[in-house]
Symmetry: C2
Subunit: 145 residues, 2 copies
């Protein structure tokens, strides 16, 4: 639901940045719009093959990088699972609650930066990262698979 809107948003953004809208990129947009967790390049490649046979790995990489640089996708490096990508929420700031087992990700609005008053040193703050890791309901229920 609402996915087609997001796909269109992504494609428009690509076009505005001067990128051509190819079948492959449409498929890519589709995949990320309809999946709200993180996907590894391999995951993406596998999904691509289903909808659009004959893709090559390097093109998947190229497009993932392009989409990340454009801010459409957000990268994250899982210590165990390596680099993964996820559709970026472009509208508002939030943080993530991530299941360390299945990687299901929820967002929440609380931001610690609001509360933070004094910091050591005289850093000019440019960014921050706040993530909470846990085990989601379903993973707690289903035993160690």
């Amino acid at each position: 639901m609402g996915e087609s809107g997001t796909v269109h948003e992504m494609l428009t953004m690509m076009a505005n940045n001067g990128w051509r809208i190819t079948d492959q990129r449409k498929t890519l947009a589709h995949i990320f719009a309809s999946h709200d967790g993180y996907l590894s390049p391999k995951d993406v490649y596998d999904q691509m093959c289903v909808h659009y046979p004959g893709v090559s790995f390097d093109t998947v990489y190229r497009n993932l990088r392009m989409l990340s640089e454009m801010g459409i996708l957000e990268q994250f490096y899982f210590m165990e699972g390596g680099l993964k990508f996820k559709a970026n929420c472009l509208s508002h700031h939030h943080h993530h609650l991530i299941c360390i087992q299945c990687e299901k990700t929820l967002t929440f609005e609380y931001c610690p930066m609001d509360k933070l008053s004094e910091l050591p040193g005289d850093y000019k703050i440019v960014n921050h990262r706040f993530e909470i890791y846990g085990i989601c309901g379903s993973c707690q229920a289903g035993a160690t698979t």
Copy 2:
């Protein structure tokens, strides 16, 4: 200052875990005890070569991995700089303020988890990460090198 204590602490910890205390591991402990930012495997290798010529890259990796598994070092993957290691503070919980230019790292005590009341889903929380990125005083002063 206080470095020798930390080195000794690390070495004792290795010994208690059944690892032999080799020259190389002593040097490794020394390097991390006297540097409080993150170091990449390459950084460590370069430092090692200075104090202990003839090291090989794979042994550096092996020891870094070993030290991480033992909890003496803490790993972190920088999106730009790849995997890096840092001496783990074993005594108390804190978070980091990291310079995105020189990677100089300060610690601070504020922890957002104390204030956090309600979260979505029914995750069993096991861990969290909170880091603030900025530009430190010296890097603000010295222009874009």
